[in-house]
């Protein structure tokens, strides 16, 4: 019924994948630089390269099962593909490419519309796979520590670490309640489904408010005074690796510059 499993599985792979022990700073640097280059590149050549690189890294280096990676890609791909088809069909006006018969209507498709559709699709592919590389290889706890080191406002980091922890507490609560309802046939029929779902949400909400108070009590018992202090233990990044990534990123940037005028259609 939900994406609960998805979040839990992404999170589990982040801690158990073959690259999990590598420096989180290196992985973050790698993912973010490829992400930025994909998004900034005007031609589809660079995003396609990025997509292939990160996919290889995810499957071969981090050893994420390809079935899971495909499942992760599936939903965004369908949505983006649909949207890009719409862009390709409706959004051009400069240079007619072809005409089709659509339900008896003659419809002109323009070259620039199709080009935008393709460029967008590949840009998303490159950017999304870079993002997946980050979340599948880097534990959220390390990301939060890096945020703190990077001088992101303290309150943001504190809220984030609390939210991260309670997401998983509530997912567990939600799953238990959902199973309990399902056993009593609460999900047979659309109306019953909606009613059960709103009861579930209501119960979880009460539980949420309760949890806020109990967590505060428990934190107070250990001397909480409004500040959440943490030990800062981020493994040092490997300079050679950082330099390698930098080199790759610059090379991609040059390719992006050289391929500005290359078009698919």
């Amino acid at each position: 019924m939900s994406h609960f499993n998805l979040s839990a599985e992404i999170d589990r792979y982040a801690y158990t994948n073959a690259l999990s022990k590598n420096s989180p700073v290196t992985k973050l640097f790698f993912a973010l630089s490829l992400l930025l280059i994909s998004v900034l590149s005007p031609s589809p050549v660079v995003p396609i390269t990025v997509f292939l690189t990160t996919t290889v890294m995810i499957l071969l280096c981090a050893k994420i099962p390809w079935r899971f990676y495909l499942r992760l890609l599936w939903y965004p791909t369908v949505i983006v593909a649909l949207t890009c088809v719409i862009i390709a069909l409706f959004f051009g006006y400069l240079e007619p490419l072809t005409e089709v018969n659509l339900l008896g209507l003659r419809w002109t498709i323009f070259r620039d519309g199709v080009a935008t559709g393709f460029t967008t699709f590949f840009r998303v592919a490159g950017a999304l796979s870079s993002q997946f590389f980050l979340v599948l290889t880097t534990p959220m706890t390390s990301i939060l520590l890096i945020l703190r080191k990077a001088r992101v406002p303290k309150i943001i980091v504190e809220m984030s670490l609390l939210i991260y922890r309670y997401i998983f507490v509530f997912i567990e609560v939600m799953e238990t309640m959902h199973i309990a309802q399902e056993l009593r046939l609460g999900y047979s029929g659309l109306l019953k489904k909606l009613r059960s779902l709103s009861m579930l949400i209501g119960n979880l909400f009460i539980r949420t408010l309760d949890q806020g108070e109990r967590t505060f009590t428990a934190m107070s018992a250990r001397g909480y005074d409004g500040n959440i202090r943490v030990l800062e233990d981020v493994p040092k990044p490997n300079n050679a690796a950082l330099a390698g990534i930098m080199f790759f990123a610059v090379a991609l940037a040059i390719v992006a510059y050289l391929t500005v005028n290359i078009r698919i259609v």
Binding site: I155, L162, I163, I167, G212
Partner: protein, 229 residues
Amino acid sequence: MHIMEGFLPHPWWEIWFAVSIIVVILGIYKLKKLTEKFPEAKPLLAVMGAFVFVLSALKLPSVTGSCSHPTGSGLAAVVLGPAIASVLSAIVLLFQALLLAHGGLTTLGANIFSMGIVGPVVGYVLWVVSKKARLPTSVGVFIAVALADLSTYVTTSLQLALAFPSTSFMDSFITFGSIFAITQIPLAIGEGILAIFLFDFLVKYKGKLLSAMNVIGLRVGLQSQEASK
């Protein structure tokens, strides 16, 4: 209404980042002052953020069969005011991008703008107006939350239309808007109804703390509730 990672071309994602960051910084400032005064607010706001995340991981049955879910930002704005709602949305959107692949990192700015700023501001303004007009609380909550949702989706359509202009900006805006309308209008109504119940729980269980926290939105609500008794 999350715009996916990489979907917005340069320079649009940067522009929305720049716009959003100003509001979020204001929110951070307000949030900091609030939690300094009320240490218990930190865990409470955090669990509410986690709640919104879990809610968004729930697939609601929708007309097109595609996956849509409530944003929660309307209710957050009614209860906490738009500035703090924007910070909370920003964090939740980051987690949605990372753990659900809903939205993305470069599109975070655009998504914060539509879901964490426009939605909450619209919701909050409507809430205050409906209180001034002495509408019943449940009607006020419904209007605020449902229209916060709708304004979010209109904003997203606008962001996409700006980034992908067709023959004209309007053409493109109408195209995106009518595609999203299929799922977003029923969803806005659904979330509005849900919010009425959740608001009730909130006042019942945490009314004291929230009105002590001096969050204007809720104070307006509590006063009018007491007056109606």
